[in-house]
């Protein structure tokens, strides 16, 4: 029987009168890669932020490894977050720190590694994203694709059990999109992580996903394998997926 890593139960969230999430429930098993599709503004990023308590939902619960994220103590939440990686849409690199400092930061702050161990982990993480040469660069010197890769390296350097990706390929050209998507898939295979990927990029989902769900106007409307969803005759899904299918 599959073990549940994440369970979202009847989550709702509104900003003033604008309902962003409306009674959304879903679960993700250990080792599974779930892709969340949806048009812009349908609450995908809000869902992800509610999962790590960057936002507090108006109703509903989020369980990660059986712990209710919104009711556990701050100390427990901190411990839980040590096992979660989050790749932001903008990569969110600390712009006052070099690439190596960005990568070393969570290791130094949260774990008791020696200087040599931290250096070795930084080197290995940069090798995984093929950016060993960028070790001393500042974030302002990096291209969009490089920033995403460094953001990814920083997220996986602590070897989290759960990875959350907020539109990992947005704003990238098709070739870099495929490179990043394959990199995410390879890292997941290597590190055996559970992943939730927010995207509206079908090319990315084709490479990464085990299962997909689609949000429409804050509600979780469709669920299934990517093949099932793209083959659906539902008018919304048909419009959503036929607009930019890329054969891999």
């Amino acid at each position: 029987m599959a073990i549940e890593m994440v369970k979202i139960s009847h989550i709702s969230k509104a900003f003033d009168d604008f309902v962003v999430l409306d009674d959304v429930s879903l679960s993700v098993n250990h080792g599974e890669n779930l892709v969340v599709f949806g048009k812009s503004g349908t609450g995908k990023s809000v869902l992800l932020k509610c999962m790590v308590k960057l936002l507090v939902p108006d109703a509903g619960e989020v369980f990660i490894e059986g712990k209710n994220v919104h009711t556990i103590s701050n100390a427990e939440l901190t411990e839980l977050r040590k096992n979660i990686g989050f790749l932001f849409q903008s990569a969110a690199l600390y712009d006052s720190m070099s690439v190596s400092e960005n990568l070393a930061f969570p290791l130094i702050r949260n774990f008791f590694f020696t200087k040599q161990e931290v250096e070795a982990k930084v080197k290995r993480a940069l090798e995984m994203v093929s950016l060993e040469h960028a070790v001393d660069k500042m974030p302002s010197e990096l291209s969009g694709g490089m920033r995403k890769r460094i953001g990814l390296a920083r997220s996986i350097i602590t070897e989290p059990k759960l990875m959350l990706y907020d539109e990992p390929t947005t704003g990238l050209d098709p070739i870099t999109t495929k490179e990043i998507s394959r990199l995410i898939r390879d890292l997941q295979n290597e590190l055996k992580m559970t992943s939730i990927i927010i995207t509206h990029d079908l090319a990315c989902a084709q490479i990464i996903s085990d299962r997909a769900v689609v949000l429409e106007k804050g509600k979780l409307k469709y669920e299934g394998s990517l093949k099932e969803l793209t083959a659906s005759s539902d008018p919304f899904l048909h419009d959503f997926f036929t607009s930019d299918i890329i054969e891999d």
């Binding site: 960057l54 977050r81 989050f86 932001f88 903008s90 969110a92 690199l93 712009d95 702050r109």
Partner: protein, 244 residues
């Protein structure tokens, strides 16, 4: 963002500042940066305050035949009020806006969220360290400004009266008492706190977008300057009660 939220932010700071781990390395780094960043402008200002104060006061005192008290007047004005307040206002303009813009930019680009989700407390790392650094570096800068202003006053008096350095120093040292220095410099600790906490509050709670960053930067200067003047009024009253 209202007064209640600012008080809540101050309370959160007080709750965190005494708890370990202490970020000495970060505090030292910010003190270096803030001190160096502000040094050129406060140096020029401090010197000019002394020169102008002496030049303006001399003819007025001469009307009453009291030119001899000019060194005492310049030094006491600078130590008790002008040095601390003007340094604090310049510091607010330079540093509070900088902190507001820096943290605002970090908020807008999700760097603060990234820190939080990495199990690192951004409040302790970004806010507490900056506020502590501001509180401790401003008294140091003020002492430096006071020294420069007194020196500026001396240069003005050489040009006008040809006063000797020895006479000037003796006049200044005789005029300044312990009860002038402690409240004068001591209150800049509170001014530094205001500059740091207001800048951090505005930046940490910045609205999304570049407009939010600009607003955080501007309102930081306005609010911290206003609070410095209000706090000064209260502290002057209190210090005059302790050291009449």
């Amino acid at each position: 963002m209202g007064v209640g939220q600012l008080f809540e932010f101050c309370f959160r700071f007080l709750k965190n500042v005494f708890l370990p781990p202490y970020e000495f390395h970060e505090i030292k780094k910010h003190m270096d940066e803030l001190g160096v960043k502000t040094l050129p402008i406060v140096s020029v200002t401090g010197f000019i305050i002394g020169v102008v104060l002496a030049m303006q006061s001399e003819p007025i005192l001469a009307r009453f035949g009291a030119e001899s008290v000019l060194p005492a007047m310049v030094s006491l004005s600078v130590v008790r009020e002008l040095g601390p307040v003007i340094t604090a206002l310049i510091f607010a303009g330079r540093v509070s806006s900088g902190i507001g813009a820096e943290l605002g930019s970090m908020r807008v680009t999700e760097q603060i969220d990234a820190m939080e989700v990495s199990a690192i407390d951004p409040f302790r790392y970004l806010v507490v360290t900056r506020v502590v650094a501001c509180s401790f570096i401003l008294p140091v800068l003020t002492l430096y400004v006071v020294f420069l202003a007194i020196f500026g006053g001396y240069l003005a008096m050489i040009l006008s009266q040809g006063m000797s350095l020895q006479l000037y120093v003796v006049s200044v040292v005789e005029a300044i008492r312990f009860g002038d220095i402690i409240p004068g410099i001591g209150k800049t600790f509170f001014f530094g706190f205001i500059v740091g906490i207001v800048g951090a509050f505005k930046g940490y709670n910045a609205d999304k977008g570049t407009e939010g960053v600009g607003k955080a930067s501007t309102t930081s200067v306005v609010l911290s300057s206003l609070l410095i003047l209000v706090t000064d009024t209260v502290l002057v009253k209190i210090t005059l009660w302790i050291w009449p």
